[in-house]
Amino acid sequence: MTYQTQFADPNDMLSSETVIPIYQNLCLDRMRSEYRSQFARRKRQLESCRLALMALTTADEISATPQPNLAATTTALKFLEAIAKYDSAPDRVVINLDGGLTFYFFFSRRTAFVQFLNDNTNVVAAYAKNDQPDIQEFAPTEIDGAVAFLERQRG
């Protein structure tokens, strides 16, 4: 009988030739699923940031906060694109009281922030309650260095 022939030897079902491809496919499916999930989350975060940036560029009547200018928002958007490669996105986007934008990243041990000022200067910094803050200025063309600084704080 066909049935008996196919499953006559149960060891055939457990051979590496049989199991490994199934296991690989399961792993691949799982990875694809996780990637899709992470990608969707990252996309949502980045979209939120972009929307926040757009909202923040409207003048704040109450605090008389200066509107972030084109230089600040342009560099901020480039920074968002750069950190997207690391599956990262800001935890908070805040308008600076003295002009420009700040991205906050709340890591487990330190708070980090990146500021894009209206005078076209930028700074990335990290601090905790009682330690010496680390601070680094960067030009709009040095975004990769700022991203590397940020990634070092993550650990």
Binding site: I62, D98, Y104, Q115, V123, K129
Partner: protein, 171 residues
């Protein structure tokens, strides 16, 4: 409930001192507190974030002549009525001001407070910072962007939330 003080029914109880017939008082007590209004964006887990401050001269109220909630009163906000609950108040003890402090290039900086009453807000002050080498009238010279960040971090680390603003929608 502090926020209830800002309802229309109770504004009369919370009007800050005006400056009529009152001159600025240059001396500050070390135990005196400074009150600063902060946005919901500038508070996280009851800690004040650096963006609560700006360069060069963040406004504060001195506790000798103000209650914390006066920092949210229209008379101390250029006549603007703040949306209820969206803003909070941070406080900082004068003795805890980070002064002097060292910048990355070994320069020494000093914080100091200047009592600058406005017509309707007698307790209004400005928190200033200048390099030790700078002349006294140079406090508003723009520092490097890195030093500005350090200044804001140092102020934030020494501040505490007195009136908690409404939680914000985190991006």
């Amino acid at each position: 409930m502090v926020r209830s003080l800002f309802s229309k029914d109770s504004v009369a109880e919370t009007v800050p001192l005006n400056s009529t017939n009152r001159a600025p008082i240059a001396a500050f007590g070390a135990d005196e507190l400074l009150y600063r209004r902060v946005r919901g964006d500038d508070v996280r887990n009851n800690e004040v974030l650096p963006t609560a401050f700006e360069w060069p001269a963040p406004s504060v109220l001195r506790s000798s002549f103000a209650e914390p909630h006066h920092a949210l009163h229209a008379n101390c906000c250029d006549g603007k009525q703040l949306p209820a609950g969206e803003w909070g108040v941070a406080e900082m003890k004068i003795a805890n001001l980070p002064t002097p402090f060292q910048s990355g290039n070994s320069k020494t900086f000093h914080f100091f407070i200047s009592h600058k009453p406005t017509a309707l807000c007698y307790s209004h002050c400005e928190l200033l910072c200048r390099s030790q080498e700078d002349p006294a009238d140079a406090e508003k010279v723009r520092p490097s962007t890195a030093l500005r960040a350090l200044y804001m971090i140092e102020l934030a680390r020494r501040s505490a939330v007195r009136i908690t603003p409404a939680p914000i929608a985190v991006v």
